[in-house]
Amino acid sequence: MIFVIIIAGAMFAAGALCAVYRIIRGPSILDRALAADVLLAIAICALGAEMALTRHTDTLVVMLVLALFAVVGSISIARYMAGQDAS
């Protein structure tokens, strides 16, 4: 089981680092909003994986709240983005 923890943790971390790279480099603000969304999805998956591997349910509510409110940031960025905002 320790093998699974190491491999899955490395893959979650690599995906999150790729998303952070896109947040830093992203040519437009939409790329950044999308990469922040991906980072949040990976964080939710990592929380769930940690709960499943250690058999506790303490952060289940955190997952619920994140799934509920993840939508707010990206939608407000996309909705109020003016036409001339290139970056």
């Binding site: 089981m1 699974v4 491999i7 899955a8 943790g9 490395a10 893959m11 979650f12 690599a14 995906g15 999150a16 680092l17 790729c18 998303a19 790279y21 896109r22 437009s28 939409l30 790329d31 909003a33 999308l34 990469a35 969304d37 991906v38 999805a41 990976i42 939710i44 998956c45 990592a46 769930g48 994986a49 709960m51 499943a52 591997l53 058999r55 506790h56 349910t57 289940l60 509510v61 997952m63 619920l64 799934a67 509920l68 993840a70 939508v71 990206s74 939608i75 996309a78 909705r79 109020y80 983005m81 003016a82 036409g83 905002d85 290139a86």
Partner: protein, 132 residues
């Protein structure tokens, strides 16, 4: 390791692989619309795998109902996000048009038969996006 633990390990490895694939895709793909495609992997399938693993490990009614709630809200909200980002990307010209095979929205925008109601929106205010 019992059979249940092997299934849990495989599901968590699947979620990790999908997260990694989303990260690689979001770096390698050329524009916003293609990156939207990569972003969906951990948001839906990865989350399903992790939640099924969690239900297998902690099989109680409280966990099952909360897991169903999490999945429901994720499936309700993520399409809204993707739609708004894609709409905004199309209108602010962040789409690589040379990569598109067909663009049905451009054809419909140019169609005068569908232009009813657009005349009154010709002068968008400062804080309102122009209607396409």
């Amino acid at each position: 390791m019992s059979a249940g633990e092997i299934v849990v390990a495989l599901l968590i490895l699947l979620a990790g692989f999908l997260s990694l694939a989303a990260g690689v895709g979001i770096i390698r793909f050329p524009d916003v619309l293609t990156r939207l495609h990569a972003a969906t992997k951990p948001q839906v399938l990865g989350l399903v795998a992790v939640l099924v693993a969690l239900v297998i490990q902690v099989p109680t009614w409280g966990v099952l109902t909360t897991v169903i709630l999490v999945m429901t809200f994720q499936l309700l909200t993520q399409p809204m996000t993707a739609h708004m980002i894609a709409r905004s990307a199309y209108r602010t010209d962040h789409v690589r048009r040379d990569l598109l095979i067909t663009d049905e929205l451009a054809r419909d925008i140019d169609d005068p038969a569908l232009a009813i109601g657009r005349e009154s929106d010709q002068e968008p205010s400062e804080h309102e996006m122009p209607r396409a």
